[in-house]
């Protein structure tokens, strides 16, 4: 089997397993919290709209901004089975995507791995795309105020990339200066700082719910990456042989 096919086979198999497992975990965790937050979000949207009709002081644009956020009501999956099915599909696709990237990187290093080395790679992935972005842009519940989407996406991607380069420098080079460069790379996005949410606006969901969501999202991601890494380590070796 060609190397590319081995990588794709590994990624599709691992992604399908991990995406399904993580959907089950989310069903009892983050998805429940998102549903709770949406109750606050919908109530928050209804309130300013009613308030705006009854003479809101000029210059106070909170109501206008909150209403604007959800002006564009396109198609969305109906709550229940349909929504869960789309989440399952999106989770499997995300897992296959991350598995392709992880297996590709492992294969570039050119060494056959076992589940344990795979787990280490998975934990590195967890650090790059969950822990590092989380420091500046924590996982958000619907109805949380935030900076413009494109700015946050650029910061997120740059942070994940810088952390990945930093960890690679630490893992694969042994010179002191590469370690220093790695620390600088990992710290830089946080020194620059994530795009800040506009002042004067606050989340619609209670803070306790937001904290619960951050912990649930981070722990689900830990399970995701631990599984993704160790399964990739296990299967890639077999497909490649």
């Amino acid at each position: 089997m060609s190397l590319f096919r081995s990588i794709v086979f590994t990624a599709v198999l691992v992604g399908s397993i991990v995406g399904t497992a993580v959907t089950a975990v989310q069903f009892f965790g983050t998805s429940q919290l998102i549903a709770k937050a949406e109750v606050y979000e919908k109530a928050g949207e209804a309130l300013p709209a009613a308030g705006a009709a009854a003479a809101v002081p000029a210059g106070h644009d909170h109501a206008a901004m909150a209403a604007h956020d959800h002006e564009e009501e396109g198609w969305e999956p109906a709550d229940g089975v349909e929504r869960t099915a789309f989440t399952l599909a999106a989770n499997i696709l995300t897992a296959i995507g991350y598995a392709l990237a992880l297996t590709g990187l492992i294969s570039m290093r050119g060494k056959a791995l076992g589940w344990r080395e795979g787990l280490m790679w998975g934990l590195a992935g967890f650090s790059c795309v969950m822990i590092a972005p989380l420091l500046g842009l924590p996982p958000e519940l619907p109805g949380t105020p935030s900076a413009p989407l494109a700015d946050r996406q650029v910061w997120w991607i740059a942070t994940a990339a810088a952390t990945a380069c930093g960890l690679a420098l630490i893992a694969f080079h042994r010179k002191p200066w590469t370690a220093v460069a790695a620390i600088v790379l990992i710290a830089a996005p946080h020194v620059i700082g994530a795009p800040a949410a506009p002042e004067g606006r606050h989340a619609l969901a209670p803070e306790a719910l937001e904290h619960q969501f951050i912990a649930a999202a981070a722990m689900t991601s830990l399970v995701f990456w631990a599984l993704l890494g160790s399964l990739t380590g296990t299967f890639f070796r077999r497909f490649e042989a």
Binding site: S2, L3, F4, I7, V8, A11, Q26, T30, S31, I34, D69, E72, G74, W75, E76, P77, R83, F86, T87, A89, A90, N91, L93, T94, I96, G97, Y98, A99, L100, A101, L102, T103, G104, L105, S107, M108, G110, V129, M130, P133, L134, L137, P138, P139, E140, L141, P142, S146, L149, R152, Q153, W156, I157, F213, A217, T220, S221
Partner: protein, 62 residues
């Protein structure tokens, strides 16, 4: 690994490792494109379909 072996097979080894690197890199890029599409696309329908996945993965949303 002895030196004569290295010398006699250096060209095929280099080609093989370049092929390996290329195939791995294409796979990794393909993977990142899939993640980008699911998690970062600005298309409204993609956003709504993958909504809960985006929030749970801490992808910037809304």
């Amino acid at each position: 690994m002895s030196t004569p072996y290295m010398v006699s097979s250096s060209a095929p080894v280099a080609t093989a490792s370049a092929t390996r690197l290329l195939q791995s890199a294409i796979a990794a890029c393909l993977g990142l494109m899939i993640v980008g599409f699911v998690g970062f696309s600005h298309i409204e329908i993609v956003h709504n379909a993958a909504h809960d996945t985006r929030h749970a993965n801490a992808f910037p949303c809304h």
